[in-house]
């Protein structure tokens, strides 16, 4: 049976179309629909319930050593309040999950993981940890709301004291408050827009949700569901676990080199990635030049006169949809590196129809700064 987030009743009241997702029942969209919700985030602001995400504390004198050992990024040079994205790898270099580590203070770290991987990640950490630190799953204590869009910060400023609002991307204020409700205010997001993610006590989530929607109503703030969350992250070309990443794909293949510090002392997965050498597959962006919409897990072909039917299988799509702001269908794929140059024309098998695509640079969308 699916779990309800603390905001379940609020979603139903707002006309949310509730669907099962990662063990939770969440709104895929509200009355406005995916396209309007997507556009609200690009042009005004949107509010998402992402309470299904998991939160894990890593604490103790050896907390930093544990993070250095378990994760691929380097956490040694962080200031209090800073956030850092990282994959977590298995011994083969495959990706267990991707997550965000916040440094609350020395020896105190707050880790945010994907909903679908919460239990797997926590168990992985317990099974592979070094002595001198404790890991605690605190997911049930927190609701998480994402306020995203060009007007998000303006709306937040009406409810939160200025000195408690983080000013830099990937920084958080741990003792923040919004409308009197204690919150971790983090300048992060999964939409490609400006905005914050708020971690609030689960029992005050509905109050915070209502307050934000009320405060932002005249600015065009509307509630947004999982559908828009996915189309927004697609346009921004942010990888999603289970699509661009999984237990068999290394973060180097996904193109997350910035978060894999091969010069760091040993970490789980490092030697496997060293032995494998330069990745043979690459994540690319695809733009549909024919007619159709590409979706995940479709075969990608390159034209090859020497192959029996004139084409050669070179990989598969990992995500794909119609992107409302771009107004066209795009997708991402993991393909043979030899064919991965921008401008290359390829073919995707869309349920039996061969649809022409072209490799384009990632991300598809970048916000004007």
């Amino acid at each position: 049976m699916e779990l309800k987030t603390p905001l379940y009743d609020a979603h139903v009241k707002a006309g949310g179309k509730m669907v099962p997702f990662a063990g939770y029942i969440l709104p895929v969209q509200y009355k406005a629909g995916v396209i309007k919700e997507h556009m609200a985030v690009r042009q005004e602001a949107g509010l998402f319930d992402v309470s299904h995400m998991g939160e894990i504390l890593c604490e103790g004198e050896k907390a930093l050593e544990n993070l250095q050992h378990l994760l691929t990024n380097d956490f040694t040079n962080m200031v209090d309040g800073q956030a850092r994205y990282s994959p977590m790898c298995n011994e083969h270099g495959g990706t267990v999950d991707d997550l965000i580590v916040y440094k609350k203070a020395d020896n105190h770290y707050f880790i945010v993981v994907n909903a679908a991987n919460k239990d797997k990640d926590f168990q992985w950490m317990l099974d592979h940890q070094l002595p001198g630190a404790t890991f605690t799953d605190v997911s049930d204590q927190y609701a998480q709301l994402a306020l995203q869009g060009p007007k998000a910060m303006e709306i937040l400023r009406r409810l939160a004291p200025e000195d408690k609002i983080p000013t830099k991307y990937y920084h958080a204020v741990f003792d923040g408050e919004v409308g009197g409700i204690p919150c971790i205010i983090s300048k992060t997001g999964y939409t490609g827009e400006d905005g914050v993610e708020l971690y609030a006590p689960a029992d005050q989530a509905e109050k915070l949700w209502d307050l934000l929607l009320e405060t932002g109503r005249d600015d065009g703030l509307i509630p947004c569901g999982l559908g828009a969350r996915d189309t927004l992250r697609m346009e921004a070309a942010m990888p999603l676990y289970g699509h661009e990443m999984n237990d068999d794909v290394t973060p180097l293949e996904t193109g997350l080199n910035f978060a894999v510090k091969m010069k760091k002392d040993d970490f789980i997965g490092k030697s496997a990635m060293e032995e494998a050498g330069a990745p043979k597959i690459k994540r690319v962006g695809l733009k549909v030049t024919g007619r159709g919409i590409i979706r995940e897990d479709q075969t990608v072909y390159a034209e090859d006169a020497s192959a029996p039917d004139g084409r050669k299988e070179i990989g598969h799509t990992t995500s794909g949809t119609h992107c409302p702001f771009l107004g066209e269908p795009v997708g991402m794929a993991l393909i043979d590196k030899e064919y991965a140059e921008v401008g290359t024309k390829l073919i995707v098998d869309v349920r039996g129809r061969m649809v022409e695509v072209e490799i384009v640079p990632l991300p598809f969308y970048t916000r004007a700064k």
């Binding site: 895929v28 629909g33 995916v34 559908g227 007619r291 979706r295 119609h322 409302p324």
Partner: protein
């Protein structure tokens, strides 16, 4: 859910209007609302054969693809090509946004009245 008393319906959520020996086929209001914002339509061509219970085209919303089934066997005599450039018109006016017209009908599945279709949808929602 909007219904039109003069139309017939299928359990796969198409509507069908019979005028003499021509059947006009589209998607119901319930179907468009369940699918969400439609962004792509794939249709057969004039002269193509369609078969009862088999897909003759597909629609895609932002979220997913869905087949559209023919309630009759026959020949496609007209295709609403305006849908190709404006799939959103199916969301806006599902009973005006017809997909195809079929003639030479040799077989037809058992169709539902508006009342029966409404009951079918309500029961499947439970």
């Amino acid at each position: 859910m909007e219904l039109k008393a003069e139309l017939k319906y299928t359990k796969s959520h198409e509507w069908i209007a019979k005028d003499g020996d021509v059947a006009t086929i589209g998607l119901t209001d319930y179907a468009q609302s369940e699918l969400g914002d439609l962004v792509f339509v794939n249709l057969p061509e004039e002269g193509d054969e369609v078969t009862v219970g088999e897909a003759f085209g597909d629609v895609e919303s932002v979220k997913a693809a869905s087949d559209v089934y023919s309630p009759v066997t026959g020949t496609v005599s007209a295709v609403n090509e305006e849908l190709l450039d404006a799939p959103e018109s199916i969301n806006e006016a599902p009973y005006d946004a017809w997909f195809i017209k079929v003639t030479d009908i040799s077989e037809e599945e058992e169709l539902l009245s508006a009342e029966e279709y409404e009951k079918f949808v309500e029961e499947s929602e439970e």
